[in-house]
Amino acid sequence: MTPIPELAGLRVLVVEDEMMVSMLIEDMLTDLGCHVVGPAARLEEALSLAEHAELDCAVLDVNLGGQSTFPVADLLRAKGAPFAFATGYGDAGLREVDRDSLVLQKPFREVDLAKVLRSLAKSISGV
């Protein structure tokens, strides 16, 4: 896949604890012309990046080795940075407050990721 102009240079925080999956998302983002922030495999790391790193949006795994990434979601929401969840759980694992969030069902294709990123990018420019 070729880089997508509207996604070029988009800084995306990746929070994912499965090593191979994290690499996959990284590769997809690089292919799409995005800039990868992270990836973070642990919650403290993810929280620290969400708070301090320069980023436009994020893709969050719901579960990091038994810990939920909801604190990261709350932090990003407070910052006004849009995010999407990547999960194998479906919607079942989400909180009420996250019900309207974009969800990427694992496994997903690069086009699925691109579509979600476009929506996220749009909501950034909309603010």
């Binding site: 499965e18 191979m20 690499m23 590769d27 642990r42 579960n63 194998g88 694992g93 694992k106 496994p107």
Partner: protein
């Protein structure tokens, strides 16, 4: 004595006799009315019959139908010991007995031995030897409401001409009373048995029973039912108590279900949570139906059972959790396979190379999954993982491998999968380009546990020697990425991969708290 006096005396005797009989009939009726079991009622009827007819002995034979056909068993006996009958086979439906057992009518004989029906059947052609001496004979069928012959009342006397037409008429009445009594007792027995087995079933199934009078609002609960709601057997537990016990979130649903059952007389089937007085939460299933229908077609009374289904609910929740977890694991594994395919394709654009490398990586992943499955996905042994990944290359006993460990340990699933893949990449690289590509090469695999407390680490070293000279690769492959980025990131490890000319060396420092199993 004059004729008048004689008539007077005769009348007086007859009157006295009638009074005695009336008294006797009255006692039979009373015995039937107060009798509580079949045996005592039938005995009272036979005893009364003997008294009434002034017979020497009387008996009631019960009509039993079974696989062998109809037969008659002695049920009650009066005026003779039971042994007097035990020596003989029970009466068969011979000519003399047939009118009784067929329910045709009363047989009365002043001398049964002169009766044309007497003595027709073998083997005795008459009474068996040592039979009670019977000349006067009176027998009446006892016929139930639907015409079924329940049995027969038989009376006998050793002298002839003892039973009068008057006594015969009275006996017909006694037989009818006996029939009613026997049928009533049978119904009672059936009801008693059914109630007992119902109570047994309720108790065995820990099922409570309850009843709601819709009109008065009176709710009655059995002991087990109260127990289901955490109440003692002697505690009051009315309809409002029931509502209060139900979890507030489940009340509307229960209300809707019971209202529908009351309005339409339909089945009531609902599951809800209850909060016991001690605060414990239990799940109860309640089923009921209209026990009495109201004029509008709804329920006048509702009755049903309640069952504690907490264990079942917990099992269902556990199962749901397991299914979710399984789904999560499968989806993550699919994503991992997707990642492996993509990474492999980058390194091997040629389809043959791709499929060989891809399949080898899938097998490596599968090996680790097997080891994890053996331990319910809680953990896998470090040594088992190393052995599994070395197996395709000759195995740990191959002299080209030098294993130097300070003991085995259990890895958590994430660490097991990551280390398994890392070992696979190192071994595959060694076979293709490194020490294992020639016969002289050696691989030393060292594991050490170092540090104290929070700083405890697992240090794994892979050291190749004796192979062709090594140069750093022009392109960074999956192995290098997996080790330097993947392990470093996911397992918070320090990984150093050196392409030394004498052989590849990789040193992994893995924090114990990240790799060891929580158990």
């Amino acid at each position: 004595m004059g004729a008048d006096a004689s008539i007077g005396h005769h009348l007086a005797t007859a009157l006295a006799e009638e009074v005695r009989r009336a008294d006797c009939l009255n006692r039979i009726a009373t015995a039937i009315a107060v009798g509580n079991d079949l045996d005592s009622v039938v005995q009272a009827v036979v005893d009364g019959g003997v008294e009434l007819t002034e017979a020497a002995f009387g008996a009631f034979f019960y009509n039993v139908e079974d696989a062998a056909g109809e037969r008659y068993t002695l049920y009650a006996l009066s005026g003779a010991p039971r042994e007097a009958f035990s020596r003989y086979p029970m009466p068969r439906k011979t000519a003399i007995f047939a009118p009784t057992f067929d329910g045709v009518g009363v047989v009365r004989s002043d001398d049964i031995s002169k009766d044309p029906r007497y003595g027709l059947s073998g083997p005795y052609h008459g009474m068996p030897p040592e039979h009670l001496p019977v000349r006067s004979y009176l027998a009446a069928p006892v016929i139930g409401r639907d015409g079924e012959v329940l049995g027969g009342l038989f009376f006998g006397h050793p002298e002839t001409g003892r039973f009068t037409a008057r006594v015969q008429d009275l006996l017909v009445g006694v037989a009818a009373q006996a029939a009613v009594a026997i049928e009533t007792m049978r119904l009672k027995e059936t009801a008693r048995r059914e109630l007992a087995s119902l109570q047994f079933a309720l108790k065995a199934g820990r099922m409570g029973s309850w009843e709601l009078d819709v009109e008065t609002g009176v709710y009655t609960a059995s002991d087990i039912c109260k127990h289901n709601y955490g109440r003692a057997a002697d505690a009051t537990f009315g309809f409002q108590d029931l509502i209060d016990a139900i979890h507030p979130e489940d009340r509307p649903q229960m209300r809707a279900a019971i209202d529908a059952a009351i309005a339409h007389g339909s089945a009531y089937d609902v599951e809800y949570r209850v909060i016991l007085p001690d605060g414990e939460l239990r799940w109860i299933q309640v089923r009921g139906r209209a026990a009495q229908t109201a004029q509008d077609g709804g329920a006048r009374r509702l009755a049903g059972v309640s069952l504690d289904i907490t264990e079942r609910k917990r099992a269902e929740q556990r199962q749901q959790l397991l299914l979710n977890e399984l789904n999560h694991r499968v989806k993550n594994t699919l994503a991992t396979v997707q990642a492996i395919a993509r990474q492999t394709l980058r390194g091997c654009p040629n389809p043959e190379d791709f499929s060989e490398a891809f399949e080898a990586r899938l097998l490596a992943l599968s090996q680790t999954h097997n080891l994890l499955t053996e331990q319910n996905w809680r953990s896998a042994s470090l040594m088992a993982i190393l052995a599994a990944e070395l197996r395709p290359h000759g195995g740990a006993r191959d002299s080209r491998f030098v294993l130097d460990g300070d003991g085995d340990m259990q890895l958590n699933p994430k660490a097991a999968v990551a280390l398994g893949m890392a070992m696979h990449e190192l071994a595959t690289n060694a076979v293709k380009y490194g020490a294992l590509s020639g016969p002289e090469g050696r691989v030393t695999l060292r594991s050490r546990r170092v540090g104290e407390g929070e700083d405890r680490k697992l240090v794994l070293e892979w050291i190749e020697s004796g192979g062709p000279p090594v140069a750093p690769p022009s392109r960074r492959g999956l192995g290098a990425r997996l080790l330097e980025d993947g392990l470093a990131g996911e397992l918070s490890s320090v990984v150093r991969l050196d392409y030394r000319p004498e052989g590849v060396a990789c040193r992994m420092e893995l924090p114990m708290r990240v790799v060891e199993t929580a158990e």
